[in-house]
């Protein structure tokens, strides 16, 4: 979707290294979300933001942090990557009338 971008489609990283994923939106939406998707678990919320510098934890927030210093960017950081964080990560924005609009996802492999 043109309004939301996850520029990294695939990434391989080593266990113990920090990793930051970036989500960028061009439509000035207040709410942004990070989900992870794993087989058998569907989409699970990691963190979300309801404004600049306003964030909250989701269901699976352990091992992750986020930052939102400006409206258009929502960053997800894996502080010290582990193999259990191998997953597909989706960013989403909330658009009134369309629910959530998702980015194209980042497949992260931790080796």
């Amino acid at each position: 979707d043109a309004g939301i971008t996850q520029s990294t489609r695939h990434k391989v990283t080593e266990t113990g290294t920090p990793v930051t994923l970036r989500c960028h939106q061009t439509e000035n939406h207040r709410y942004m979300y990070w989900y992870r998707q794993d087989p058998g678990h569907g989409l699970r919320l990691i963190h979300y933001s309801y404004g600049v510098k306003d964030t909250d934890k989701g269901e699976v927030s352990d091992g992750y942090s986020v930052s939102r210093s400006k409206t258009e960017d929502f960053l997800l950081t894996l502080e010290s990557a582990t193999s259990s964080q191998t997953s597909v990560y989706f960013c989403a924005i909330f658009r009134a009338g369309d629910g959530y609009t998702f980015g194209s996802g980042t497949r992260l492999t931790v080796v």
Binding site: D1, Y33, Y35, P39, G40, H41, G42, L43, R44, L45, Y48, Y50, G58, F90, A92, D98, G99, Y100, T101, F102, G103, S104, G105
Partner: protein
């Protein structure tokens, strides 16, 4: 959606037939419900939504039915086409809290 471990529930239908995908949700306070379609390698895409003050809503070839008494949501797809093959997720929301996703159902269309 309900989990069956690592394997998604699968629905196989003949091209041209109608499909019905079911979803159970657990939060009786949820007031907004959405269906998403996810094709391989892509992010989920919005299909149709419904608010809790309605029990049916129709879109183009799709209908969503909501039964709040038994906390059940269904998606009906008329005249199913090969392009409808995908994984379908339901999601529910209470107020401004983040969407909670089901685990998905895989729809396979047999030509």
């Amino acid at each position: 959606g309900e989990s069956v471990g690592l394997h998604l529930p699968t629905l196989s239908v003949q091209e041209g037939d109608n499909s019905i995908i079911n979803c159970a949700y657990s939060n009786s306070a949820s007031d907004y419900f959405i269906w998403y379609k996810q094709e391989s390698g892509k992010g989920p895409q919005f299909i149709i939504d419904i608010r809790s003050n309605m029990d049916k809503r129709q879109g183009q070839r799709v209908t969503v039915l909501l039964n709040k008494t038994v906390k059940h949501l269904s998606l009906q797809i008329a005249a199913t086409q090969p392009g409808d093959s995908a994984v379908y997720f339901c999601a529910d929301q209470e107020g401004n809290t983040p969407l909670v996703f089901g685990k998905g159902t895989r729809l396979s269309v047999i030509a």
